[in-house]
Amino acid sequence: MTVLTEKKAPAAEEVTKAAGRPQGRIRRALSTHWYAWAMVAPVVAVIGVIIGWPLIRGVYLSTTNANEANVERTIGVNHIPATYESVGLENYTTILSDGVFWDRLIWTLVWTVSCVTLSFTLGLALAVMLNRKLKGRTFYRMALILPWAVPAFVSVFTWRLLFNEKNGLFNSLLAGGGIDAIPWLNDPTWAKLSVIAVNVWLGVPFMLIAMLGGLQSIPADLYEAAEMDGANAWQRFRHITLPGLKPVSSTVVLISGIWTFNMFPVIFLLTRGGPGDATEILVTYAYRLSFVVSPRDFAGSAAWGVLILVLLSLFAVVYRRALRKQGDVW
């Protein structure tokens, strides 16, 4: 695409005489589309350079044995050239035949599905409540979106403060009630529940606002008509509200599914993936391989990255289907 755009200026002038011959089609295409191509050229060029090139390198690295000790680096004044070599698909076979990847994948899916389901359900319930005549509606709304307004990494630190095992607020309150301290972040099961809880807390406001928007786009006369026909509240919700929300909800569920799947900060800042690697999702595990463990395993991490990308591409296909159903033409 970029190649074509460079030729745009002369082609535009030659348009009239060139039509009809074999290259004529290309020229005609250029003359009709050159401005569209010129408009997208900057993004295509920039994406090609800063995403395309690293991506190709990443795929290449994933087929080598690169690690901290053999990549190109500079120590003081000495420049040490790279000495890693290609190992073919060995990294992939190792990862896929090793239990760690599958364990992490299963937990990532559990994490994504439970976070999205819970925050969607809670967001929808609160939206339905807020979408009525109600005293203090603005106040509730402001209060309920606060978790979204505060930067996520700040909130996560707050939760660590509350979850602190020795003297965090939750355990102090439990102690006051005579209950033993709960190792919120230090026991595998509790840690999993805690990270999910924090992420749901962070995710509900987005769902709430999106669902409110969706609810307001449902025409009120539908409800009136249903009531005339004797439908009760549940039937109205089931047969008008839910179908009416479908376009919005499919979009937000997919978006937040992707966000949650890639949710680095919550896990990384709350538990660092611990205890052990109990709460490590795919993304944080790949990060751990290249930046936390020693020696840093760049090749292994790159291979994890490629596998994660393959999984997400499946997501993309589903997402596009959803967009198409809503009438996006491309």
């Binding site: 408009m39 969706g214 991490s301």
Partner: protein
């Protein structure tokens, strides 16, 4: 509310019995408390003396010493400056570069559009894990690790696809008739875009920019991996240094967190209505 009168006459549509009303309010109050409590506790803790950070009572010895310490004796202001510079640059460049693309894919059908949309869609959901290693190696080779420029380039990989996508959504809401009127009056597509559509799209640009800003503002993974050394950190990395395996200075952490959160929350309050509209554009219009 009309609940008091509802007992006397038959209830009108949309009115509730008193019991339902109480239930509704109780639920909403509980939900609001859960939503508000952690940020509130952050504020409370930041106003306590350092050694009382974990006491359960509300502020007993009210003090601003944490704030004074954070502002005066730590690198906090440097981090704030770094964050503002990196994220600000990313936002401006991102919106600037992607606006025309958003317009093109919103208005024209052209060969290469489908692949481009796929490209934007997939790059948008790129997990950090895919690019972090090659980017790290590339930046190391170019000598850009620990440099704000390196982080700006990195953040653009997130911002550009996202901005282009959001701008498309916004341009979709501007009637095509305006373009047609421009064309009739003899403007070429660039003229139409520049003189007619862009001025109309200012709110869209602002919202896209704002969203790109808060995304970068809260980014943790790249910032933690690429920036080392106290004076190079951004906020997300810097705040981590207050509480780690060696120290746990919750007083400073909470004070710094409040300073970061308050302006963000206020601006967010103004922009939030438009945010979701932008993200789900197309889904709500029909």
């Amino acid at each position: 509310m009309s609940t008091s009168t509802a007992t006397k006459k038959p209830r009108a549509r949309g009115e509730r019995g008193p019991l339902a009303s109480v239930g509704l309010h109780v639920t909403l109050v509980v939900a609001s408390l859960i939503a508000v409590f952690p940020p509130l506790w952050l504020l409370v803790t930041s106003l306590k003396p350092k050694d009382e950070a974990f006491t359960t009572d509300l502020v007993k010895d009210f003090t601003f010493s944490n704030y004074a310490h954070v502002l005066g004796e730590t690198e906090f202001l440097t981090w704030l400056g770094n964050s503002l510079m990196v994220v600000g640059l990313t936002t401006v460049i991102g919106v600037f570069i992607s606006a025309t693309t958003g317009y093109a894919v919103s208005r024209f059908k052209f060969p290469g559009m489908r692949p481009l949309m796929w490209l934007l869609l997939i790059t948008q959901m790129f997990p950090v894990a895919v690019l972090i290693v090659p980017l790290y190696n590339l930046l190391a080779t170019l000598g850009l690790l620990n440099q704000p420029v390196g982080l700006v380039i990195t953040y653009l990989t997130i911002a550009i696809p996202f901005c282009a996508w959001m701008m498309k959504g916004y341009f979709d809401t501007i009637p095509v008739e305006i373009d047609e009127a421009g064309r009739v009056d003899g403007l070429n597509p660039f003229g139409t875009f520049w003189r007619l559509i862009l001025p109309l799209a200012k709110p869209g640009l602002a919202v896209t920019g704002f969203y790109a800003f808060i995304t970068g503002w809260a980014e943790v993974a790249y910032a933690s991996a690429f920036m080392t050394g106290e004076e190079n950190l951004t906020l997300a990395g810097g705040l981590q240094t207050f509480v780690n395996q060696y120290t746990s200075d919750w007083g400073s952490l909470t004070a710094a967190a409040v300073i970061v959160a308050v302006p963000a929350a206020v601006i967010f309050g103004f922009a939030q209505r438009h945010l979701v509209a932008g993200l789900t554009a197309g889904a709500t219009k029909s």
